[in-house]
Symmetry: C3
Subunit: 251 residues, 3 copies
């Protein structure tokens, strides 16, 4: 494998399609040679962005292919992948995550059986999560919200804020031990860019950069990776959000 | 069944999955215990929101599961469900509705056969719809537009406004007898939130509240239900639209 | 066939469904009689809009049906359809395009076999594309960007702009010979409307009108066609973008 020009097999962990359509040719020449081969963002982090994009796009075969590739390459292990499904559910909704979860479990079982192993999945370790009392979760959620978003948490006056954002999203999911905050940043930025609601896009892109969890050169690569997998229209919105956030932080 | 903690079977009308992944655990602890179990929004209205979200998300299994659950629980009858498919088509487009229609018909046939009935579907009663003359439809559409949106109808200068909005969407669909205007409000608000076009989101959220068809506490529950099923990014956009509309109406 | 009231078979190239649900009835009365039958936009251009909408919506059956209809009607030939898949990939992302590519290839093979032909697809002619050197592509991309968008190209400071927008999207795809720029306008306007990122929506709608590649009456028809297939929420956003662009150009 030439590191500058990774072949299809090195990224996708399978043989390339044997076609010469415009789409298939561009897949090699643009997607692989000009996107995946770039320095500046690790292959693992490109996988987070890509998995988010294909999961949101509902295209069955690409979801199966990228889940298989991520697991069989060893870039993402099964516990991390299952945590990803939950984080993805938060930002892209339960229905798409439910499909993804099924794909992950089947892909994993297949790989394990092929390797002569049982494929049993250990239950996730939640011991670091602390007291599950709702007040404690709310208090932790308020703190985590501030740590992640770098602004004050909103008052828990509505069900969305109380039962959703503060006690579940930040009071639980973001604190789970299976993925680092940096992992969650990549997944979240890609998710809000795919959804393209302007306010979450602006806030998560901004806080990812302001916290230093994602550097500006890495964010630039995220923009390109996402443009390829979710289209240049959504890519342009993320590009603008990233540029504006960066200007705001450095003026 | 504990009313505060509905079990999976009471909502989904089937056995829960036997897994302990982060996703499956959160499905019980967040989705069921903290969302579906809340007072403030009827189970039937939670179903409208949820069916809209899963229909828009294209995830095959969740669509099938929620259609089955809505019909077999008796919360939504077959005539209402078929009207829902048409209303959904208007706001989420024909292709997704076409898939949904097939799922509804298959789920219904299966339930009817299991009950030893023929599964015949009576043609919808359109007798209340009045004269189908285009001028009459336009006149009715102008009035219905105003009744629903609480603003003047736009001039029918473009095909979108004339053939689309005034003679079809408001001149026909919103007036069909199979669903109440209140039913259509829940479906519409969820649809525009899933699509997240800012102007329709603002206008439909605002008019649902201003008309009193959806109360503020109900809208708050819609925001949470939608955040769970379409993700917190879209949920945040709906939350903001609802808060802004409420402030505008009460300042 | 009555030209004002095309039957289902003339558009879809297959028998209509034999159902009388609200959805199926509206499909004939609204979609066919009031949308597809309108003058002002050719059937071929309605197909570009429709194919983009169904491709973005991930509804399997409608994708298959519309691809089949476009190819078997002769409105779009196989080389054009394969170019469409690549252009679609750029604006709607690789995963959806990958699914679409498979559908196209299967539909084509089926039609060819039924006609007693081999179904071989000739490799696309790229001879007009010129030197593939990256600097040459960048230079061509800068010029094509200006020709298409009618504004200066951005500086290639980020991977998104350099490796994405300038050397790939405008330095290659828009210049490919298989589709005219006008074809690409219809596909692009529909794509950005489906994605509904506000800035690409505004810029592509504006430049399509300003260049004269799409006339205002044609754009009006695109808005209606897209509203039907991707829903009136996205339709409203496109309608506003088109009206605002038109006002801006003519004040």
């Amino acid at each position: 494998m030439n590191v500058d020009r990774p072949d299809y097999r090195a990224i996708m962990m399978m043989d390339p399609p044997r076609t010469n359509t415009p789409f298939a040719t561009a897949q090699q020449e643009f997607l692989l040679d000009r996107v995946w081969s770039r320095p500046g963002l690790s292959r693992r982090n490109r996988r987070w962005v890509t998995l988010t994009c294909v999961g949101a796009a509902d295209a069955e075969k690409p979801i199966e292919d990228h889940v298989h590739a991520a697991l069989s390459s060893g870039d993402i292990d099964i516990q991390e992948m299952l945590e990803f499904v939950l984080h993805f559910a938060v930002y892209n909704g339960w229905p798409k995550a439910s499909h993804l979860e099924g794909v992950v479990r089947r892909a994993w079982a297949k790989l394990e059986i092929a390797a002569g192993r049982s494929g049993a999945i250990a239950p996730p370790d939640q011991s670091s999560l602390g007291d599950n009392d709702w007040d404690a979760r709310l208090a932790r959620g308020v703190k985590e919200f501030m740590d992640v978003n770098l602004i004050e948490a909103p008052q828990p006056r509505t069900p969305y804020i109380h039962a959703g954002i503060l006690t579940f999203v930040f009071g639980h999911v973001w604190q789970r031990p299976g993925l680092s905050r940096r992992d969650r940043r990549f997944i979240t930025v890609a998710s809000v860019a795919v959804c393209d609601s302007p306010v979450p896009l602006k806030s998560h892109t901004g806080s990812a950069l302001e916290s230093g969890d994602i550097t500006k050169p890495e964010m630039d690569e995220v923009v390109l990776q996402l443009s390829a997998y979710s289209g240049f229209a959504k890519g342009e919105a993320l590009h603008m959000a990233a540029e504006e956030a960066w200007d705001r932080l450095h003026r």
